[in-house]
């Protein structure tokens, strides 16, 4: 049952082959039995899940069910859930129970989806390995001594281990695509402004974007149909009709122009990863697409620019965690300064503190122009790179990350090596473009991700391209050893 895709589950639910309660029970049991090994789910909402499953079954019986009615999903613990602890992977919010739902959560609720629980993540979404979580690292189901990627590592690992058929995630610099690649699943980061950020705990507001994760592009389309909405509670959300992402999945790729940026195949790219990606591009040619060599000359500047802008925004976004109104507060503060110092020193982990310090420094008097000002200029250049590229091509493809999943601790002491993990994903966030990752090969028994970058609001075309690839390949159907398929 856990091998069914969301598409298949919906079909089975509609045909009454099984009830939502049955599949919900099944996934809850899997999480309880298997997740001690992966640590991907940090809050299980069993009672709530069964209650919503029963309600979904009623609606299904009445024939008044929405698209995702009765489908069990997991939510990244960055999305606020009313009445359910929302920790953002941090000690700071270990005791935080929001009195409101994120818009994304509300959308799933209104659509009848069943929330199984909340997934583990890098603390405040700051990390590429899930090692920074207060709740301990998530293990990659393909190789439990390796990282699942981050920051949405919990969502990605849970789907790979068939603990849920789909999950929500967020992406600030690659946090959907990189773990999707490392865990062998499909994930999509939409255009900035497509999915509401209301109730999604902010890391870097101008880069953060929620998106779906599932095993297939077809399932991601179903989830995005539900997640994407215009929301007047988020000023940066764009008021534009949400298309049905499922309708064009079957379109032919004949004549599709795919740009291959030379900067994505340079030094630092694992040879096996490169081979897998090149083989996939050959598949696309077979499907009728045309490959076009392009250049995104400012790619190399994206990591340094990102590591100024994201920490700068984060340094302000995380100022609200001061021990005054909610969240962690140190014991017996002797004065106000002591309250701030100890609360934040105790509540935040090392990586979060590092980024707050970097961001604070970059915005300081005398440094602002050299860092933040320059980084904003670089951001413009990167946006121009893409604008020019999309004059010649319809989609851009390349590797999602430089190499397959690395071992725990391998990059823990070298933040810059860790930051380079996102070298191919970061520039789309800086430009606000949509990006996705889908499984395209295996290296040393570990999955490799193919990245697809689209023009603004071109998610339907990306999903179409991914779906067509998945019709002729079976990388997305592979399951980690031990996960019976």
């Amino acid at each position: 049952m856990h091998n069914f895709t969301i598409t298949e589950l919906i079909d089975g639910l509609k045909k009454r082959v099984f009830s939502s309660e049955e599949i919900t029970q099944h996934f809850l049991a899997r999480i309880k039995n298997l997740d001690s090994e992966f640590n991907s789910v940090i809050t299980l909402t069993e009672d709530q899940a069964l209650e919503s499953a029963k309600l979904a079954d009623q609606l299904l019986a009445e024939g008044s069910a929405s698209e995702l009615c009765g489908v069990p999903v997991l939510h990244k613990d960055i999305f606020c859930t009313q009445g359910v602890r929302t920790s953002c992977g941090s000690k700071m919010l270990d005791n935080f129970v929001p009195p409101y739902d994120a818009t994304v959560i509300e959308n799933f609720r209104n659509n009848g989806a069943v929330m199984l629980g909340k997934t583990n993540m890098d603390e405040f979404a700051m990390g590429s390995s899930n090692e920074t979580s207060f709740y301990g690292p998530v293990k990659n189901p393909w190789s439990t001594d390796s990282v699942p990627g981050g920051s949405s590592g919990g969502s990605a690992a849970a789907i790979a281990a068939r603990l849920a058929p789909g999950a929500t995630a967020t992406d600030t610099g690659g946090s959907i695509r990189q773990p999707a690649a490392l865990c062998g699943i499909t994930g999509l980061k939409p255009t900035y402004g497509r999915v509401s950020r209301w109730g999604m705990i902010a890391f870097a507001s101008s880069l953060d974007q929620g998106g779906p994760m599932a095993r297939t592009a077809e399932d991601c389309a179903l989830l995005l149909n539900c997640m994407a909405s215009y929301d007047d509670k988020d000023s940066t959300c764009i008021d534009r009709p949400v298309p049905n992402y499922s309708v064009n999945l079957g379109d032919s790729l004949k004549g599709l122009r795919i740009g291959i940026p030379k900067e994505y195949f340079s030094e630092g790219l694992n040879a096996g990863t490169e081979q897998a990606v090149r083989d996939s591009l050959a598949e696309y040619e077979k499907l009728g697409a045309e490959l076009v060599d392009i250049s995104l000359p400012n790619t190399g500047l994206s990591v340094p620019a990102y590591y100024v802008i994201a920490p700068a925004e984060a340094s302000a976004n995380l100022s609200r965690f001061d021990g005054v109104r909610y969240g962690h507060r140190c014991e017996d503060p002797k004065d106000l300064e002591d309250l701030y110092r100890r609360t934040r020193a105790e509540g935040f982990g090392d990586e979060v503190q590092r980024r707050i310090l970097i961001g604070t420094y970059c915005l300081s008097a005398g440094y602002y122009d050299a860092y933040y000002g320059k980084a904003q200029q670089v951001r413009q250049l990167i946006r121009q790179d893409f604008t020019q590229a999309f004059e010649k091509v319809d989609l851009i493809m390349g590797p999602t990350c430089p190499s397959p999943a690395f071992k725990f601790g391998a990059k823990g002491n070298d933040p810059v090596a860790m930051y380079l993990e996102d070298i191919y994903t970061i520039s789309t966030n800086l430009a606000g473009l949509p990006g996705m990752s889908l499984p395209c090969g295996m290296v040393d028994n570990k999955p490799v991700g193919l990245q697809i970058i689209g023009n603004y609001f071109d998610e339907a075309r990306m999903l179409n391209a991914a779906h067509q690839f998945q019709q002729v390949t079976d990388w997305h159907q592979l399951a980690p050893a031990g996960i019976e398929s």
């Binding site: 409101y100 209301w198 902010a202 000023s235 940066t236 302000a316 609200r320 005054v324 915005l363 602002y368």
Partner: protein, 485 residues
């Protein structure tokens, strides 16, 4: 040495919107602590600001009223600092691109001169909450009330164009008059609706370079501001004349103890690390919208003053006093419509009524004496039914809710005796019964006799139980005494 004082003002004006600048919580004053703070005002994780369009319109209206450039694209920025009554750890404000650019405010001085004060800019921002420290709260702890957090403000920043306390007070009063006339602020100083920060420096007469300035913050009455300026100017001059040096610092003035103290020096000042708020888009205002607001601007104080001079033949002084406050202006017009006597009505509105309202610190809107009731009183003064002195008693009666002027006059038997026969008899009787006073009058040097008349008047008014028409009595008395010589 002769010293010249240089003053610039920063004025915080609370905008009279129903809801806060970035949330839907109420801005009403006086609610129980923390009952008007929603999840956005509390800076709960994942919440996002949405700008209040009414606040934008109000700021533009102020800009139009002072003939300023309107910022077609204005940008909200984050001003970062930690304080318990600042929930986000930053204040959302404007810096580089404010909504209102340079403008001019004309002020009138006591000697009738006018002066132009240049406005550097005005920007929109959110108010902080209130900290209640020991003495105002429980002992040993501080309390925080976030009802005020997020109340929209415009901060109006003047150029250093004022030269003494009189200029500064006239400027502050003029701003009060403008914002209340526009209806964008309730003008309730005691509730903090307008607060002044005064930048003060002194320099030797003739010097063109500015001296080192200090900033006295958060003055919330014209009187406190005037006193604080006198005190600070004297302190600076004393210090310089004793060979000392002014330290650039922020000072606090306590209006109750009339003592000012240093709060922090420039060295201790925060580095606010301003940067554009990524949660809010730049505010773009179309020319069309600006023109619509311009067309619908209510009558401004200067225009109203001129109209009062033209239409009601009031002196410049009276017209200025009555036009300063929109509600006072309309009260005056309403009362005059009924009384038909503009001059007398002006005297009563600006005099007795204002004094009484001030003494009881209630606003004109809550005046127990309606414009119609005051007009009724004025009609009886004008037709000589009652004397000025009686009028004060009648006013008191109306104030206390005893009824209209005619009812009170009737009930208290306050009719003035204007019958000349009766008055002559009264005068004769008093003269006959006070031979000593008459002799004294006759023996007095003719130039100084006038001073003696008061004694006779007192006796006559007493004999008439206060009901004699004093003007008539005084005429009759003068005639009788002249005849006796």
């Amino acid at each position: 040495m002769n010293w010249e004082t240089v003053i610039g003002l920063e004025v915080h004006v609370q905008l009279a919107t129903k809801t806060k600048i970035f949330s839907a919580a109420s801005t009403a004053f006086g609610a129980a602590p923390n009952t008007q703070a929603c999840e956005i005002d509390l800076a709960m994780p994942g919440t996002l600001p949405v700008v209040n369009k009414q606040a934008i319109d109000y700021a533009v209206m102020f800009g139009l009223a002072i003939d300023a450039e309107i910022g077609k694209t204005s940008v909200f920025e984050r001003k970062n600092y930690f304080y318990p009554d600042l929930p986000k750890g930053y204040q959302t404000t404007q810096l580089e691109k404010p909504i209102v650019g340079p403008g001019i405010v004309e002020i009138q001085l006591g000697n009738g001169d006018t002066k132009s004060i240049r406005i550097h800019h005005a920007h929109l921002e959110e108010d902080a909450g209130k900290s209640l420290h020991e003495g105002n709260f429980r002992s040993g702890v501080s309390g925080i009330d976030l009802n005020r957090a997020g109340t929209p403000l415009i901060e109006i920043v003047s150029e250093p164009d004022m030269r003494n306390a009189e200029d500064a007070v006239a400027f502050a009063k003029k701003l009060h008059s403008i914002v209340t006339s526009l209806g964008i602020c309730d003008g309730e100083m005691s509730q903090g609706s307008m607060r002044f920060d005064v930048n003060i420096s002194v320099r030797p007469q003739g010097e063109t370079k500015l001296g080192t300035r200090t900033e006295t913050k958060n003055l919330n009455s014209f009187k406190f501001m005037e006193d604080a300026i006198h005190l600070e100017v004297a302190r600076q001059i004393d210090l310089l004349e004793d060979g000392g040096e002014i330290i650039q610092e922020t000072r606090l003035y306590n209006g109750d103890t009339k003592v000012a103290r240093s709060m922090r020096s420039k060295e201790e000042a925060n580095d606010y690390r301003y940067f554009p708020c990524p949660d809010l888009l730049p505010v773009v205002i179309s020319d069309e919208h600006v023109e619509k607001l311009r067309k619908n601007l209510p009558e401004l104080p200067d225009a109203r003053q001129q109209r009062f001079m033209d239409e009601y033949d009031l002196s410049q002084y009276d017209a200025n006093v009555l036009s300063a406050d929109a509600s006072m202006g309309s009260y005056f017009e309403q009362a005059t419509k009924h009384s038909g006597n503009a001059k007398l009505t002006a005297n009563w509105v600006a005099g007795e009524l204002s004094a009484r309202l001030n003494a009881e610190t209630i606003s004109l809107d809550q005046s127990p004496v309606t414009a119609e009731q005051l007009a009724g009183l004025i009609i009886r003064i004008a037709d000589n039914t009652i004397s000025g002195k009686m009028a004060k008693q009648v006013f008191e009666g109306i104030w206390n809710g005893e009824g209209d002027a005619d009812q009170i006059i009737e009930k208290r038997g306050l009719k003035q005796v204007s019958d000349s026969g009766a008055l002559e008899a009264m005068v004769d009787e008093v003269l006959a019964n006070n031979q000593a006073m008459v002799d004294d009058y006759m023996n007095t040097d003719p130039d100084k006799r006038k001073k003696k008349l008061g004694g006779f008047m007192g006796q006559i008014m007493k004999a008439s139980k206060g009901q004699a028409n004093p003007q008539q009595v005084s005429q009759i008395l003068a005639q009788k005494l002249a005849k006796m010589l």
